[in-house]
C-alpha cells in the first residue's frame, strides 16, 4: 500500500509539466464533478476549470515544487490526498510567489483524476 506515493509523485510531476507547457492538455485530468478553487474562486467541471486556468493573466509560468506529501485519503475508494508547496514564477516577475495546492485524487478507469483542487497563493505577488 505504498504505491499511492508513487502515484502522487508521478501526478505532481506530470501536472506541473503540462501546466507550464500547455494548459489545455490538463482537461483529461479533471472530470465533470471536479472542483477547482483557485484563490477563492470556485469552478466546477473539466471544461470550466481548464478555461479558468487558460484565463489566468499570464502566458509563461513555471512551478517549482518545494515539498510534496501524500496520504491515502480513503482506502475504501482508493482516493489520495496530495499537498504541494512551492514557488510560482510568472513571466517577467523576478520574485517568485509562494503557493500551496491540495489535490484530491480519485481512481477512474485504472488511472486517477483530480476530484478536488484547492490552490492558494500564500505569499504576495509584489
Amino acid at each position: 500500500m505504498s504505491d499511492f506515493e508513487a502515484v502522487a509523485k508521478q501526478f505532481v510531476e506530470y501536472y506541473y509539466k503540462t501546466f507550464d507547457t500547455d494548459r489545455t492538455a490538463l482537461a483529461p485530468l479533471y472530470a465533470d464533478n471536479s472542483m477547482l478553487t483557485f484563490e477563492a474562486a470556485p469552478v466546477q467541471g473539466a471544461t470550466g476549470i481548464v478555461q479558468k486556468l487558460l484565463d489566468l493573466p499570464f502566458k509563461q509560468v513555471q512551478h517549482q515544487v518545494a515539498t510534496l506529501d501524500a496520504q491515502p485519503s480513503s482506502p475504501e475508494t482508493g482516493g489520495i490526498i496530495v499537498v504541494v508547496s512551492g514557488a510560482l514564477l510568472v513571466e517577467e516577475e523576478k520574485r517568485p510567489m509562494s503557493y500551496c495546492q491540495t489535490f484530491q485524487l480519485m481512481p477512474r478507469d485504472g488511472s486517477y483524476y483530480v476530484f478536488n483542487d484547492v490552490f492558494r497563493l500564500v505569499y504576495p505577488a509584489a
Binding site: 505504498s2 506515493e5 502522487a8 509523485k9 472542483m35 478553487t37 483557485f38 484563490e39 477563492a40 474562486a41 470556485p42 469552478v43 479558468k52 484565463d55 489566468l56 493573466p57 499570464f58 515544487v65 518545494a66 515539498t67 510534496l68 506529501d69 501524500a70 496520504q71 491515502p72 485519503s73 480513503s74 482506502p75 475504501e76 475508494t77 482516493g79 490526498i81 499537498v83 508547496s85 512551492g86 514557488a87 520574485r95 517568485p96 510567489m97 509562494s98 500551496c100 491540495t102 484530491q104 480519485m106 478536488n116 484547492v118 492558494r120 497563493l121 500564500v122 505569499y123 504576495p124 505577488a125 509584489a126
Partner: protein, 652 residues
C-alpha cells in the same frame, strides 16, 4: 580625559589648554567644540612600536599598526582561540575595541594633545544622539593613542552607534572608525562611498523631528548640502540617491521595530515627482508609515502611484493636494481610498471614521471565513477548526484522543525554501529547522521506503507521539486576529465510514487552512519564532467527538506574513477580464457559495439599472444583504431616502 582607566601615563590632565576652539565642524549645532584635554600626541608607543607616525604625514589611512596576516597567525598560535580583537591587548570580554584614524589632520591638530580629547568628547556626544531616541549616553571607557591611531574601548551596544559614524567629518577632516579585528577592509579609510553615506546620514538627522516622529524629505532638490554634492545633476546619481538614503536610514537603527517606531510620518512634498518610481523604496524601508505627504508634486494620474498600491498597510493620512491629478482625474479619491484599508484622511478630509475602520475589521468575525469556498453544515467544520487549534496549542495528547482514532493519519513536510516576510527582523539561524527536519515527510526528497513509512503516523498513539515531538505553538486568536488566517472548507463525499456501514463512504469535509503560529520555548513558554503553515484535513463523522480526522497534513515554512490573504492581494492571479469591472470598485466581494463572480457582477449591474444607484453602491447594497437580490432591492427601498446624492448615477 585621554587614557581614562589606563593607557598613557604621562598625559597632562586638566583643562589648561582651552587655547583654540575648533571651528564648527558639526552640522547640527555642535559649534565651538572646546579643546580641553591633555596631551598624548605621538607618545604612547606601547605595543611594541618604535615610534608614532610623524604628525602631518600622509599615513592617515594606512593603519600603521595593522597586524600582518602572518603575525596574526603567530599570535593566535600563542593565545589559543582568542578572537582577533583580544590579541593586541586584553580588553574585557564585553567591550569592543575601535580604531579611529584620520583625525591627526584636523583643525584641532595643533592642540597640545593633537585634538584627541576633544575628539573623544565629540565622539561621545555625537554617538549619543541617535535618530529616534532622545537620550542615550555613549561612554568611551578606555582610550589609547598610538601614533595617529586612537584605540577606544566601548560596550558592544555603543560600538554600533560609533561604527555608524565611520567617515564622519570632524574638525575639517573625515575620520575612519573601525573595529579592531573586524573584517579587514570593511570601512577602512574614508572612501567616497563612506563620505556620501555620512553626508546622507547628516541630512537625515537634520531633517528628522523626534517629537513628531516626522522625517521631512520635502524639497530635496533645494537642499544646499545635497546640491553641493551634485546629487541631482546627473540622472544616474539622481536615481540612486533616494535608495541610498533609504539604505542609510535603515542602517541607522538596530532593529526594524525601532525604525518603525521612530518614523510615523514622511513628507515628500515639493520634489517635482512625476511618479513614485524614484522614491519607491520608501515603502520597503518604512512599510508601517502612518502619514505621507506627497503634495506639490507633478503626479498626474493614479498609475503614477501604482507601485505603492497595496503598500503602506497602516497608512492613516495621505496628502496629494496640489498635484495635476486633482484636475486630470478628479475622481481619484474613490479609487485610492480602497488601496489603503486603514486610511482615515485624504488631503485633510475624512474618508473613513474610526467606527468604519473598526466595523470593517469586524467583517470577518467571529470566524475567519474569507472565502466563498467555506461550505459548512451546522457549524461542524467551524467547530472542528476552533477545537483543533485550541487543543493543539494547549493539550495535544488530549487532542489526539479526541479527534484521531486508530485509522487517522498525520504527516508533515518542511518547506525550507519558502521566502520570509521582508518586514520581519527574524533571520535564518543555524539550527533553524532542527526540530522539524528529522521527521519531515517531503516525498520530493525522501524516496527511501522505510523512511516514508516511518514518517506517516497512523493511530491515536502514534499521532500523539509525533505531536509531542513538534515544538510547542501558539496560534493567533481566530476571532480577534482573523486576518492572519485563511480557511476553506469543502464538502467531501466518499470519506471512509468509521462504522463500515457504507462501503462507498460518507460525506465529510476537506478543510484547508493557511496561517501562522508562534513557536514557544519549551521551558519558558515564551514565543521565540514565527512560522507560517498550511494544513489540510479530511474529516468525517464518527467517534466520540462526532467528528474524526481521516487525514491531517501539515506544511511548515518560514514566516511569510499574512499579506497574501488581504482581499486586495487575492486578485493578484484572478481572472482579469471576467471580473475587472467589479474589482475596480473595491476588493473582490465576499460571495456565498453558489454565487460566482460572474453572477455577482450581473447582480450588481442589474440592481444599479433598476435603482439608478452607482455600481459601487449597488455592490455595497448586495454585500450587506449577503448577495440576495430581493433583499438587496428591499434594503434599497427602505434606505433610499437617506442615501447621499453621490449614491446615484447622475443623468442628463
Amino acid at each position: 580625559m585621554v587614557a581614562r582607566g589606563g593607557g598613557t601615563k604621562k598625559a597632562a590632565r586638566g583643562p589648561a589648554s582651552q587655547r583654540r576652539a575648533a571651528r564648527k565642524a558639526d552640522r547640527d549645532g555642535d559649534i565651538g567644540m572646546s579643546v580641553d584635554g591633555g596631551v598624548t600626541k605621538g607618545r604612547s608607543n606601547r605595543v611594541g612600536k618604535s615610534s608614532g607616525i610623524p604628525k602631518g604625514s600622509k599615513a592617515s589611512g594606512s593603519q600603521p599598526s595593522r597586524i600582518s596576516a602572518s603575525a596574526k597567525r603567530e599570535i593566535l598560535k600563542h593565545t589559543g582561540d582568542l578572537s582577533m580583537r583580544d590579541t593586541r591587548t586584553s580588553a574585557p570580554k564585553s567591550q569592543i575595541r575601535l580604531r579611529i584614524t584620520g583625525w591627526e589632520k584636523s583643525k584641532a591638530a595643533t592642540n597640545p594633545d593633537g585634538g584627541v580629547s576633544s575628539l573623544i568628547k565629540w565622539l561621545e556626544k555625537k554617538a549619543s544622539t541617535k535618530l529616534g531616541s532622545r537620550k542615550r549616553t555613549v561612554k568611551i571607557q578606555k582610550s589609547q593613542v598610538e601614533g595617529t591611531e586612537l584605540t577606544i574601548n566601548v560596550t558592544s551596544e555603543d560600538s554600533r552607534a560609533l561604527l555608524r559614524m565611520n567617515g564622519y567629518e570632524w574638525a575639517g577632516t573625515n575620520i575612519t572608525i573601525e573595529q579592531v579585528g573586524g573584517p579587514v577592509g570593511a570601512g577602512s579609510t574614508s572612501t567616497e562611498a563612506e563620505k556620501i553615506k555620512a553626508m546622507l546620514r547628516g541630512v537625515l538627522e537634520r531633517r528628522y523631528n523626534l517629537d513628531d516622529k516626522f522625517l521631512d524629505l520635502s524639497g530635496l532638490g533645494q537642499d544646499e548640502e545635497l546640491k553641493a554634492q551634485a546629487m541631482f545633476d546627473k540622472k544616474s546619481t539622481a536615481s540612486k540617491f533616494f535608495p541610498a538614503m533609504m539604505a542609510v536610514l535603515e542602517n541607522s537603527f538596530d532593529t526594524p521595530a525601532e525604525k518603525d517606531a521612530a518614523i510615523l510620518s514622511v513628507s515628500l512634498a515639493n520634489n517635482g515627482l512625476v511618479d513614485v518610481t524614484i522614491v519607491t523604496s520608501l515603502s520597503q524601508t518604512l512599510p508601517k508609515l502612518q502619514n505621507l505627504d506627497l503634495s506639490n508634486n507633478k503626479i498626474e494620474n493614479l498609475s503614477a502611484l501604482h507601485p505603492w498600491r497595496r503598500r503602506f498597510y497602516h497608512l492613516k493620512h495621505l496628502i496629494l493636494s496640489n498635484n495635476p491629478i486633482e484636475q486630470r482625474e478628479p475622481n481619484y479619491p474613490a479609487e485610492i481610498v480602497p488601496w489603503y484599508p486603514n486610511l482615515r484622511m485624504l488631503n485633510n478630509v475624512q474618508v473613513r471614521t474610526e467606527e468604519e475602520i473598526a466595523a470593517k475589521s469586524k467583517v470577518n468575525m467571529p470566524f475567519p471565513i474569507r472565502s466563498p469556498a467555506f461550505q459548512d453544515e451546522g457549524g461542524i467544520a467551524e467547530n472542528f477548526v476552533r477545537t483543533l487549534f485550541a487543543g493543539y496549542d494547549t493539550d495535544r495528547a488530549a487532542l489526539a484522543a479526541h479527534y484521531y482514532d486508530a485509522k487517522s493519519e498525520f504527516s508533515y513536510a518542511l518547506n525550507t525554501q519558502a521566502p520570509r516576510d521582508p518586514a520581519t527582523s527574524e533571520t535564518t539561524e543555524k539550527q533553524e529547522w532542527d526540530n522539524y527536519i528529522k521527521n519531515s515527510r517531503n516525498l520530493k526528497k525522501i524516496s527511501h521506503l522505510p523512511a516514508r513509512q516511518n514518517r506517516l503516523y497512523r493511530g491515536t498513539a502514534a499521532v500523539a507521539d509525533i505531536f509531542s515531538k513538534l515544538p510547542k505553538t501558539r496560534h493567533p486568536d481566530l476571532a480577534s486576529e482573523a486576518r492572519k488566517w485563511m480557511i476553506e472548507a469543502h464538502i467531501q463525499p466518499g470519506v471512509p465510514d468509521a462504522n463500515g456501514q457504507y462501503p462507498i463512504g460518507v460525506d465529510g469535509f476537506m478543510i484547508v487552512i493557511h496561517g501562522e503560529y508562534d513557536e514557544l520555548d519549551d521551558s519558558t513558554g515564551q514565543a521565540k519564532k514565527k512560522r507560517s503553515f498550511d494544513r489540510t484535513f479530511i474529516v468525517g463523522p464518527g467517534g466520540s467527538a462526532g467528528v474524526r480526522v481521516v487525514s491531517d497534513m501539515l506544511n511548515v515554512r518560514s514566516y511569510g506574513g499574512a499579506q497574501a490573504f488581504e482581499p486586495e492581494n487575492i486578485e493578484a492571479l484572478s481572472d482579469a477580464t471576467a471580473t475587472q469591472n467589479i474589482q475596480q470598485l473595491d476588493a473582490p466581494p465576499q460571495l456565498p457559495a453558489g454565487v460566482t463572480l460572474e453572477i455577482a457582477e450581473q447582480m450588481v449591474i442589474q440592481l444599479a439599472k433598476q435603482t439608478g444607484m452607482t455600481l459601487e453602491y449597488a455592490k455595497l447594497c448586495l454585500e450587506q444583504t449577503q448577495w440576495n437580490y430581493e433583499q438587496g432591492m428591499a434594503a434599497f427601498e427602505s434606505n433610499k431616502a437617506s442615501l447621499p446624492p453621490t449614491a446615484f448615477i447622475t443623468t442628463g
